[in-house]
Symmetry: C2
Subunit: 203 residues, 2 copies
DNA sequence: GTCTATACGCCGATAGAC
DNA sequence: GTCTATCGGCGTATAGAC
């Protein structure tokens, strides 16, 4: 805790990150709590508690609650980029899409309790007056574009429309899974989507 | 959607309804404002203003905000019942389903601004601790069951799965239309669903 | 039945000690 | 950089006049 530990990690101190990584913890806590409770119901005290950071200290890292929301949206974007990056290790675009769907289905229990982590956030942000809904749209657009890229690689001329269809199917089955609290919906629809992708890849 | 609230209803004064129908106005205002702003962001003052009822007077009709939410969910259920009732005037189940989809597409501008009136409400209620999420599930279930009934009438043994697929498609395209603020998504996906229904009806 | 005035708690944000 | 104490505003709900 003292100045003595200063030298070691200093190599090229990431602008913000300090020992403890409180900022990172606050962002992660925001993503999680926003998902579980919704943005509007969540207080800064909730986030601080989950992040294990004193309430008042939050304001050293984020001047307003909105900035926390913005950071959460950015975190979703980063996660998406990381995910698609990993999927591109697979050589076959159809396999990438099926792996994407498979990942969604694996999260079915969480989806049944809290919905799609990003979809529910985007829906909520669209009803606020701040400009965060634009950032949310960007993330959604990035997902659709990546999916469209895969369909394009499969030689489908209607790649964009198919991408909208796939992402909409995911958002829709998330809403139903959530509202009806039934993870089996996710499983069944996931299987349907997988067959659908297969059919499109090998017509 | 807006059904009978016509004059001759005084015949046997409905328990609550008084001159002016303040209670009805409060419920209608709740449905509308919850849709446009979300439940959490909405204050009783907002509802009172839209309903043109003095703020303090709200509590004569509803003891808590939760009761207003409950009444709004009930109103959605009533609207759904009225809608499906009207659709059943059509002799062909496939026509009923296509008319259902057509109605959704007609609301695309509203969907782009505020999302599906019921889907966004259900999503929000699922993140509250009150028990209203169960009531929301009931309404969603009623819609799915009615759709399944139509597919059943078309002789499809997989009617229930098809119904989940159709309703999920609607919820999903609503989320995307809303997040991307693009009503064209609703139009395109609506056409796709219409063809899909045709294909299922005349294999 | 209708409406005003107000109590009360909670939450976002700030000031400033350390 | 870290944390405590606290302010100001708002929103739900109530008391009680008309």
């Amino acid at each position: 805790m003292t100045d003595s530990e200063a030298g070691a990690v200093r190599a090229e101190a990431p602008r913000r990150a300090r020992r403890g990584g409180k900022r990172e913890r606050l962002v992660e806590a925001s993503v999680r709590v926003f998902h579980e409770q919704g943005v509007e119901k969540t207080t800064l005290a909730d986030i601080a508690r989950v992040a294990d950071v004193p309430v008042g200290n939050v304001y050293y890292y984020f001047k307003t609650k909105d900035q926390l929301v913005e950071a959460a949206v950015q975190a979703h974007h980063d996660r998406l980029t990381a995910l698609t990056g990993r999927l591109e290790a697979l050589p076959d675009p159809a396999d990438r899409l099926k792996a994407l769907v498979g990942g969604w289905v694996e999260e079915r229990e969480t989806a049944a309790r809290f919905g799609c982590p990003f979809g529910t956030l985007a829906t909520e942000l669209d009803k606020r007056d701040d400009g965060l809904d634009l950032a949310a749209a960007e993330v959604m657009r990035a997902l659709i574009d990546w999916v469209a890229g895969q369909f394009g690689a499969l030689g489908r001329p209607d790649a964009q429309a198919l991408a909208v269809e796939l992402v909409a199917a995911y958002q829709g089955m998330s809403v139903l899974t959530h509202t009806l609290r039934d993870p089996a919906i996710m499983t069944a629809q996931g299987e349907r989507l997988t067959s659908w992708i297969d059919g499109l890849a090998h017509p």
